[in-house]
């Protein structure tokens, strides 16, 4: 398959695109499980995971297959979810898809249906702003968010979208400054701290990124993923002692976490070079053993285990 403009990257992209195919081109129309689709959409909404291809494929089936009646009151958050996913994928047709209802006008679109149901709602305004952002009209989107903030200064989603606009424009330093100002007032928002951390990491400011992760750990200290991120930032800063403590915490919270085990092994190897103690070498050996045990348990071939062992010995 070769056509102008195609490169290796697009080949795997094509497989992803097949998920976006509307239901008519596939034979699975009869096996469309409405309940399973609704459950999947609910779970995606709850976790906040970014999986626009899946949402668009399910949304296409639900909206174009006219299953919206079966959603009841849940139709509004589902519309919002489908619109955002459609914008993510660039499917403006789906974002503007016709809303079918016996009572309302047939030419109503998803977005205007939301506007009609929730008049003068900042949440719908935010969706409109996101639509302009996806089209590339950043100034119009910025104007909408300013209007929202003029009416309600404390509107969190609008403030966050303003920062996202700065990110889109590539103005990372302004985004960092704006996010810092926002976090001065609302410091118990882990999502914003994580965003600030990733902005700092993109600028290689590891000290500040570590500070952001510490703030996240204050808020959600039982989550092993934040400890892992903090540990890896510390390891990058060559703070091996503290990184080792954090990697141990990761394994404590999530047993046999392979990335954590690797972290422990690498930290102990680094520390053994400067100040060898019995504890460190024991920990080193234990980590190596556990890594190989996990690989064996998951059915890794011997070749792979030999490679891993050689890497761990040389680290």
């Amino acid at each position: 398959m070769f056509y102008p403009g195609c490169d290796d990257v697009s080949i795997t992209f094509l497989e992803v695109l097949s998920l976006l195919a509307p239901s008519e081109t596939r034979n699975s129309m009869s096996s469309f499980n409405f309940n399973a689709a609704v459950t999947t959409l609910q779970e995606l909404r709850a976790s906040g995971e970014r999986n626009p291809e899946l949402v668009v494929s399910l949304g296409n089936k639900i909206v174009r297959g006219k299953y919206t009646g079966g959603l009841g009151d849940e139709v509004w958050p589902v519309y919002e979810q489908i619109i955002i996913a459609a914008l993510d994928v660039g499917d403006f047709q789906l974002a503007d898809v016709r809303y079918n209802s016996a009572s309302s006008s047939p030419r109503l679109t998803c977005l205007t249906a939301l506007e009609k149901r929730f008049t003068r709602s900042t949440r719908v305004q935010r969706l409109l702003g996101m639509r302009y952002e996806a089209e590339g009209k950043l100034d119009q989107a910025a104007k909408i968010y300013e209007e929202i903030l003029d009416v309600d200064e404390t509107n969190v989603p609008a403030a966050k979208r303003q920062i996202a606009i700065l990110n889109t424009r590539g103005e990372t330093h302004e985004a960092i400054a704006a996010l810092t100002r926002y976090l001065d007032t609302s410091y118990n928002d882990p999502e914003s701290w994580l965003e600030l951390c990733s902005l700092y990491l993109s600028q290689r400011m590891y000290q500040q990124a570590a500070f952001c992760m510490e703030e996240v750990l204050l808020l959600q200290g039982s989550n092993h993923v934040w400890h892992l991120k903090y540990a890896e930032i510390l390891y990058t800063m060559a703070e091996h002692k503290l990184a080792l403590k954090e990697f141990c915490r990761v394994i404590e919270l999530c047993e046999d976490h392979v990335r954590g085990l690797y972290g422990v092994q690498l930290c102990t190897s680094q520390l053994l070079k400067t100040a060898p103690t019995v504890d460190l070498s024991d920990l080193n050996a234990l980590a190596t053993e556990r890594i190989l045990a996990v690989y064996s348990a998951r059915g890794a071939p011997d070749e792979l285990k030999r490679v891993v062992r050689r890497y761990l010995e040389s680290a």
Binding site: L17, L20, G90, D91, C254
Partner: protein
Amino acid sequence: MSPKDANWPGRFFCVTGLLLLSHSAYSTYERTTRTDLAYLKAVDRSETGLPLDIIIECLVSVLFFMVGVTLVAGDLKEILMETEMSKQTIDKLDARPSFITFNHRGRKGARALKTLTKRNL
């Protein structure tokens, strides 16, 4: 909660339990209004207490409720948070959905699919 299919055995048990309970409650009410408490006091006899069948009916309704509620309730989740957390992926936790930007390479996805289907690829 996930939309479940009609769990008819559970619902049947709950409904019958409810009927039995309400029936025994009404029978108790009938009994107390029918016994002449003034006459009993005059003849110096104490209340005889509830008849056995009403008590048995009430206890049977409890049994029906126990069975029904166990069947209707959904799957239990693990009590340790670690087992729940170990299933979470970094993609789910570190998604930051309020800050997503749209200027990524996937934004032409839908248009590319249309072009490809038109060229029959």
